[in-house]
Structure formats: C-alpha cells, structure tokens
Symmetry: C2
Subunit: 342 residues, 2 copies
DNA sequence: TCAATTAGTTTAAACGTTTAAACATTTGAC
DNA sequence: GTCAAATGTTTAAACGTTTAAACTAATTGA
C-alpha cells in the first residue's frame, strides 16, 4: 500500500509548518491566518487529494468516530435491517460502523466486544447474547458508552431501546382470543433473554385476562441449535394431545419460519384448522398461502433512537434512555377464519 | 470514557522502560530478556487487564488489522449471509470488519469507500455498485488491496470472486427447456452489472442451443427503484401476449420475490400454468406452495476465497485471483409438471 | 519613540505504540 | 588482568495528527 498524503507533504511542498496546514484544513484560528496562504494550502490539499488519517487523528483526540455494532445474527432479517438502519443513521453523525455478529453465542459475543473496544470505538450498540452481564459490567466500569437494543437486563441500569415485548405478546394473544381461538400453543426459545421471556409473559397475561388458565402443556421451549427437529416435535405434540391446540403463537421469526415449513407439509389448513401468530415481518411469511398475522417492530424508530442515545452518551450528555416502543399488530389471513364460507 | 491501561502504566508500576514491556508482551527479543522481569510484566499486564491500543499500533505499523466490507444491500439475504461468512473468516486471521451498505447507489458507494480507506483499512472486499470504475481505479492507483465479489468489471484486471453467472443462467434455462417449457420469459434488471448481464446471456445461449430464437418481447428489464409496479406490469405483459410464456426466469432474488407475491394473487398455477426459475435460495421461496427451482451459490466458498485472496494481497503475495465458482441447480416443484396427473 | 497590541507563523509536546541503536553490566577466554 | 562477547535494559525517534504556547514582525497609540 502506498504511503498516503499527509499534512507534512503539504507543508513541505509549500515550505510552511505542519501546524499551519492543520489549522487551515480544520478551519481553526481563521482570524489569524492570512487568506493567501490559507488559499494555497487548500489548493495544494485538493491537488494532492489529501485525506486526513483517521487513525492518527483518533490517537490524538481519543475519538475514532467509529461505533461498534454487535448484532445477534446478521443473517437474520431483524439484525440485517437493524444494521442497515444504524449504519445509515450513524453516517448522519459522520460515524462509521464496525460490526460483529455474535450468533447468540456468549463467548463469541465477549470476544467481539473486546475486539471492538480495542479498536477504540467511541461507543457500542449491542443486542446482547445470553449471560453477557459480566462483559457489560466491564463496559460500565470503563465508562465505555453503549446502548442495548432488542433485549436488556432489567436489573442492570443500562441504556436500552426495545420493543414493549410484554404488551406485544399480550396484544398478539388477545387478538387470537378475541377472534375465537381458545387453545393457544406457544412455541418459544428456552432462554433467559428478557425480550423472549416478556413475550411469553404477555401471552400468559392475555390468557388470564380472558379467564383462561395457563397450561404448561401448551408451552414448548426450543433450545436453539437443533431447531428444526425440536420444532417439528413441538408442533406434533401440540396437535396430537387429547385436546389439541387451535392456534400457535411463535415468539420469534425463526421459530415461525421453521414451524411453517413443517406445517405446510401437514394436512392442516391455516387458519381453519390452525391459526398462527408471530413476531416480525418476513417475506417468507408473506408468501405462505395464509400470510402471517404478526407484531411489526418499528425498526427505523428503534435504530434511530439507539444511535441518538449513543451519540448523547458519547457527548457525555449522560441520560439513561430506557425506551420501550410499541409493536404494531398486523392482522393477516393466518388468524382470520372466514366464517361466511365455513 | 476512562483512559485505558497503556504500556506506560505497566512500565511505571514496575519501574522499567516502556520498550521492555512492549518486547515482553510481543514475545520479542526473548533470548535477551530475563525470565523474572518478563514474568512480572506479564503478571502486571494481566492484573491491570492491559489490552493493546489498536489505533496506536495501527499508526505505528501501518496495519490496522481491519478490512472494509462494502456490500450491495445488507438487508438482502445474499449480502447478509456473505457478511456473516466474511466476518467469521476474517476473524480467523485476527481481522475486524468495518462495513457499509451501498444500497446499489454509486454515490453512496464512493463515499463509503472513502470513509473505509480513511480509516486505514488494510484492504477491502467490495460488491461494486454500477459505475464504480473510477473509484476502483483510485484504489488501484494507491495500491490499496481489494477483492471484488459477486460482480466485477471484465475490462479491469482486478481480483474477483464470483459465480459463473453465464453457466448458471444457461443451466437454469436449459433445465426449463429440457423439462419441456418453450416460451421462457426473462425478468431481469436494467443494469450493466456483469453478473446480471451474464445470467441473461446464459439464458440466450441456452435458447440458441435448443434451436430457439431469442425473442426480445420475452425479456423484461426492471429499473430498480419502483420495482413492485414494474414487475407487476412485466408479468402481465408476459402472460397477456398472443402466445404467452409458459415459464419465467428471474435473474435475481428480489425480482422473484416480488414477482411471486404478484403471481400468487393471479389465477395461475405454478408450475402447471407457469414454471419459475430464479437465483439464490430464500426462505420465502421455500414457503411458497411450489418451492422455487433455483441456482444456489456456494456462499461459504465464495466468502472464504474472497478473504483468502485479500489476505494474500495484504501480505504482498500479489497474485491476480479471478475465480468463478459454479452454481448448483436446485430443482424444486416450481419447474416440474407432474404429468402423471395431468 | 517605544511599549503594547495584533497578526501570522512556528515550536514542541503529546497520544500509545514499535524498533533500531545505544548503553551498561556480567561472563568467559586467554 | 584484559578484552570481547553475551546479556539485560534504556534511549530516542518515528507514525500523523492536534493544540497550547512561544516567537517574530508589523501596526497602533500615546
């Protein structure tokens, strides 16, 4: 790689000091510097195509104008949409995004956080994996600004932007109940991540509101790695039981996706035999013969809020932003029985 | 943000020079340094949780151990899968990924490339937007290592890893022809990007091989922004013409996705009335009642090759890797008429 | 006329590292 | 007992910036 043009090169070419060049190109001390030399410096900089070395600048100013983004799984639509939004938003503040995908793995997440911090990012936006408390405490102890998205640890006083998952779970379950479904199965992850837990609690709450008892047999928890087989089994269990479910609520995108693949192979009609509700939009669920009723997260708003909150932290305007945004219930064919025909 | 622990802190604490600490922690001059002091330095470093400042290191060594990744559209499955693979692969070489999504916009791509370069990335992996030649020439002139993925400029002697798009287009069209389809419509982008162009040429070639003339009326080109409306029109045109098409070949993921959404609203049965072939897997196409026959790109291989090629360039092992990998034809229901029933 | 002010520019130190070269001390050979 | 070599450590400069402080020369005011 060629040596890039530096302030020194411009200074030497014009026979002036590096300082002067720096002042001119940063529009500093403009009341002191002669117009003529300023003009010349600017011309020469343009001519040599000078671009400030952000690494040197970062070392000196202790600001790299870089933020670290740690998503849960970049190949998942939620993460990649978020990444895109955050990158766009960061750009408005002249920030660059360094990224990593933890793949929901605690160790990997820890390692990536370290890497990002050692690259001197000015702050982080993190969708934390399970059991990341220690690592987050380290960030707090070192006063490294960060904002959590999607999930957070209720007992930790951190900045976070997330969906009101409880309300969303409630809303989705309520909708099924109000449409007439009574035996709602829940397929969720076996996890302590608060976003998923809250969705489940919302579901329980909705049942209670409708005078129904929570039935643990209707709740199936999946432990991520062997997802396909487990989901197949969960769905079978729910459909085979003495009084089978009339609907299934999935607490995540990936779950419904795999679930749907299996359901589409069964002699079960959605929504007539089985209604479905889930979280997040997906093109896949749109092309299913009965597009899925789902909770739509306001991704743009969340991304914007997260970047804004982080910028404030970086600027030492320390306020503990802990914002929950509301999900929108998008009702589609998967939960509406057309009784005019039946 | 707190000042981080530096070599100086360790040196001061032990009353030795910074140099010595640096040597020890980098395992240099080990035949010279006394075991006892080395031991102490290592202990103190661990105790203070010293982490080298990559920015300072980068300034000194002119290597930031960072690569820039410029994808076409991170919210698209191809890009995000690629991003994940590349991030994983880069990690093996102790590299961090800085990323940007050009959203297929030349201006934005140019700006992002500048940003990445000014952050002193050691190299770049780029899925170039249309008309990025100038910017790439700049990289070449400044000897900044880069590898193109997905598309490239045939007239520019750059490193690139891509699908053999011509062969893939051919293979897909051949399959339709051999299954008995004769009027194959092509829905593609109006673009000069070579990957898309090659797919189209492959289609033409397959037609020719089968003694069929290319019919320009069967080729519909979409100019990206207003994609939904245009695709709707294209499909209508193809189905309404005097002798309508019996199959449609889409040259990209996004095209078939939108196309499918529209087709699923029509009284047209896939594959009986209309066969479909496309590029890239997608969960969406899997959930459609007739899962789509498609060309599967070996993403893992491509990502691995791209990172490897870049690492070689960075290490000044200059070889012009220009590798085309083969796509796999995955035959699904969307192109197989079950004649046993018909 | 000369001190004080203003204008224009430079000096020098710093950020946290790396690394060639220098230095000081010990060891060993003869 | 001397000197060369080996051992262990430090000095100093550098990477490309930023920025307080210093310097010089010109201008102003009394």
């Amino acid at each position: 790689m060629k040596r890039k043009v530096s302030l020194k090169d411009i200074a030497n070419k014009l026979g002036v000091s590096i300082t002067l060049v720096s002042y001119v190109l940063n529009n500093q001390k403009l009341n002191r510097i002669s117009k003529t030399i300023a003009q010349k410096i600017k011309e020469t900089a343009a001519e040599l195509n000078y671009k400030p070395n952000q690494v040197a600048k970062g070392l000196k100013t202790n600001k790299t104008h870089t933020i670290g983004l740690l998503v849960a799984d970049i190949s998942n639509a939620f993460s990649s949409s978020m990444a895109r939004i955050i990158e766009n938003e960061a750009e408005k503040y002249d920030y660059t995004v360094i990224f990593g995908s933890s793949d929901e793995n605690t160790e990997r997440s820890k390692k990536l956080m370290d890497v990002l911090v050692n690259h001197q990012v000015d702050g982080l936006i993190i969708a934390p994996a399970e059991h990341s408390e220690e690592q987050l405490k380290y960030l707090v102890a070192n006063e490294i600004p960060f904002v959590l998205i999607d999930r957070f640890y209720p007992e930790m006083p951190t900045c976070h932007i997330s969906l009101d998952n409880f309300e969303a779970g409630q809303k989705l379950a309520n909708h099924l109940l109000e449409t007439g479904y009574r035996r709602i199965g829940l397929i969720t992850y076996r996890t302590t991540l608060n976003n998923i837990v809250e969705r489940k609690l919302g579901y329980f709450d909705a049942l209670k509101e409708h005078g129904l008892e929570a039935d643990e047999n209707l709740v199936k928890e999946i432990s991520s790695p062997i997802i396909t087989a487990e989901i197949t089994k969960a769905i079978n269990d729910l459909l085979i039981m003495p009084s089978p479910v009339d609907s299934i609520l999935f607490t995540a995108n990936m779950l419904s996706l795999h679930g749907l693949k299996y359901i589409s192979t069964l002699p079960v009609k959605v929504p007539d035999d089985l209604a479905i509700g889930t979280f997040d939009e997906s093109e896949a669920a749109d092309l299913f013969y009965a597009p899925l009723t789902h909770i739509k997260q306001p991704l743009n708003q969340m991304g914007r809020l997260a970047v804004q909150a982080l910028m404030n932290l970086i600027d030492e305007k320390k306020e503990l932003v802990q914002q929950q945004v509301k999900g929108e219930l998008v009702i589609r064919k998967s939960s509406i029985v057309d009784r005019s025909v039946g």
